[in-house]
């Protein structure tokens, strides 16, 4: 037991979390990422890589099924926690750590699973299918793959049913998981929301959201350090360290702009001219390619932070830790502010004809705040 106890203690200091965000709970997810980072924990890329499954928010029926199947894919020792508000995160993580430390309990869990044979993997959905011509006119077998709803750096709730030729997306249909299932499933649009009166949070949150999206794009571009920088700025914005965040944001923008390698890799990927944007109902400031949109995203964050909306300095300190008052029990805590609503159909349309890597970059570059719940099937 001595050895396995020491192993458990060591392992626990470097646990990997798979974070699942129910649409509308991004502040909770951000809090999980921040507090896990403080503990030295890291984010897992797939269930096979994870020790802890964190569900942020209360999932609707479809997402609950996905979560259950992902839970089965965690190799174990494993722990699952459900957190619905940012202020419950710290306690939740403590609870997960306790579960992982409980070696006898994990052993019982492991023997209980042994009888059930193989883990039910998501990969099982590779099936022989009909062929069709790829963009080069060559007939290839088509692979039907569901991208999302749980993928690293993926907009919460988005599901993209893609027809792949090799790793090329021939066509795709998009939807939002649990569309039309109460408050947890739907996107919350700013305006009619009761939390609108929490004005001081807005500027910081808008900027934080942009930084979060930029971090995702940078992570997908394979630059973890810059992504980590963007995440740190996001956390500072949310905890109210505005001036430090502003300085760091300026530094990050310079760093990104100066990276010719990043520019070379993102230029000319996913170009969207203004008329195309208008046709798809996307925001007009998304014009250009992924590189333009990345810089635009960071620029909007800087504007939100230093712009006229940011009148209150250091005000929203309670957003993460205390949580703004006036939140209905059971409903999403997080307030989706600013930013237009993106239609999933538009997402599906812009990724068709690109390979998975560039398609992921394009999706991340759309700076999605909320998804329209109306699906196109």
């Amino acid at each position: 037991m001595g050895v396995s106890g020491a192993l458990a203690r060591l392992a626990l200091r470097h646990a990997h979390l798979l974070v699942i965000e129910v649409p509308g709970y991004w502040l909770t997810r951000v809090a999980v990422e921040r507090l896990a980072g403080v503990r030295g924990w890291r984010l897992a890329v797939s269930p096979a890589d994870a020790d802890i499954l964190v569900v942020c928010g209360s999932p609707g029926p479809e997402l609950a099924l996905v979560v259950a199947s992902l839970w089965e894919q965690l190799p174990g020792p494993r722990a699952r926690i459900d957190v619905t508000t940012p202020d419950l995160v710290a306690a939740g993580l403590d609870q997960a750590a306790a579960m992982l430390r409980d070696t006898p309990g994990q052993r019982r869990d492991s023997t209980a699973r042994d009888g059930r044979g193989f883990d039910d993997a998501a990969g099982g959905d590779i099936a022989l299918a009909h062929g069709s011509a790829d963009r080069d006119g060559l007939e290839m077998d088509v692979l039907h793959v569901r991208l999302g709803p749980v993928l690293p750096e993926w907009p919460a709730g988005l599901v993209l049913r893609a027809h792949l030729h090799g790793d090329l997306i021939a066509e795709a249909q998009a939807g939002v998981i649990d569309a039309g299932h109460g408050p947890a499933g739907g996107a919350h649009v700013a305006g009619g929301d009761p939390s609108d009166e929490v004005r001081p949070a807005v500027a910081g949150e808008v900027a934080a959201r942009r930084c979060d999206n930029a971090a995702r794009l940078l992570a997908l571009a394979g630059w973890p350090d810059a992504a980590g920088g963007a995440r740190a700025i996001r956390d500072r914005l949310l905890t109210g360290e505005r001036s430090a965040a502003t300085a760091e944001l300026a530094r990050l923008r310079r760093r990104v702009r100066r990276s010719w390698l990043l520019r070379w890799s993102l230029r000319r990927v996913g170009p969207l001219p203004p008329d195309e944007l208008a046709r798809l109902g996307l925001a007009p400031d998304l014009t250009g390619d992924v590189w333009d949109r990345l810089n635009g995203m960071l620029g909007r964050a800087a504007v939100a932070v230093g712009g006229p909306a940011g009148v209150v300095d250091g005000g929203p300190a309670g957003v993460v830790d205390g949580g703004p008052a006036g939140v209905a029990v059971g409903g999403p805590v997080d307030v989706v502010v600013g930013g237009p609503v993106t239609s999933p159909a538009a997402v599906a349309s812009v990724v068709s004809g690109w390979d998975v890597a560039t398609a992921r970059l394009i999706v991340a570059s759309l700076d999605i705040t909320a998804l329209d719940v109306v699906t196109d099937g």
Binding site: G40, G124, L164
Partner: protein, 309 residues
Amino acid sequence: MAEVPAAVSGGWAPVAAVLLGALAVAAALLDGALAGRAAGVRSGMGRPVGEVARLLRQRRRTTVAADRLLWRIGGAGLLGMALMIITVVPLGRWTLFDLDVGVVWVNALDVLAWAFVWLTGWGANSAYALVGGYRFLAHGLAYELPLMFALVAPAVAASSLRVGEVAAAQQGLWFVVWMPVAFVVYCLGVVAIAVWGPFSPALGRDVAGGVTAELSGVDRLLFLAGRYALLAAGAAFAVPMFLGGGAGPLLPAWAWVLVKATVLLAGLVWLRRRAPALRPDVFMEVGWLVLLPAVLLQDLLVAVVVIGG
């Protein structure tokens, strides 16, 4: 000091393996420290240790309809490859395997990465892992030919394919000085074989870890250890090929080999923090239209110098 290294008995193989292991562990520690510093965490150095503990404690898992034989071969293969590469790398006066075609031997081994990485992606029967495998092969098509021609340059300059003789031929001037293009391309090749840093789209976050998406427990540990070991073996092989072998003042030759390998390895590890990913769709043209002609010109230059000199 221009002596050509002599082969020692195979009984020393475990020592070579331990040295490779030490280099790989050093690389992992440095990577952890750099990652920790970037993330603002104090426990960075401990990351590899914790990671090993975590993976040893984790259960192995399998997936539906996995091709387990090929999957396991692929996962463990990288480590085996790294061990085979260092058999021909001379450590000062000693080498394990004094093959007269040592350079081609290393080249043949590095091609095995194509098989092992792809098989790891294929065996799991998962779409993301398979996409990762495709990405590695796409990278391979772009980096392999430049890498081969990069290895040609030192061999031509030394008029030998024996690694020890290549090292001995650099008494006056290290090859890295007058064949920098070949050296850079070789380093890119090593980074690519180890699926490291800029060449890690095969393990990308966008495809849920790609080739490693379904690996857990010991299987993941073997694969990750194989990557560090390959990086270390590649850095070690660069020493006799480009960095003058054991040549250097004061220290004995074997110590210089280790020092040079460690420094280069640290550089390769650090590269990961600086450069974004080179996606195969954009790197393909670079490989064929920039790297290949550049390294061919380098070979031509070396050949002209050798004939003229």
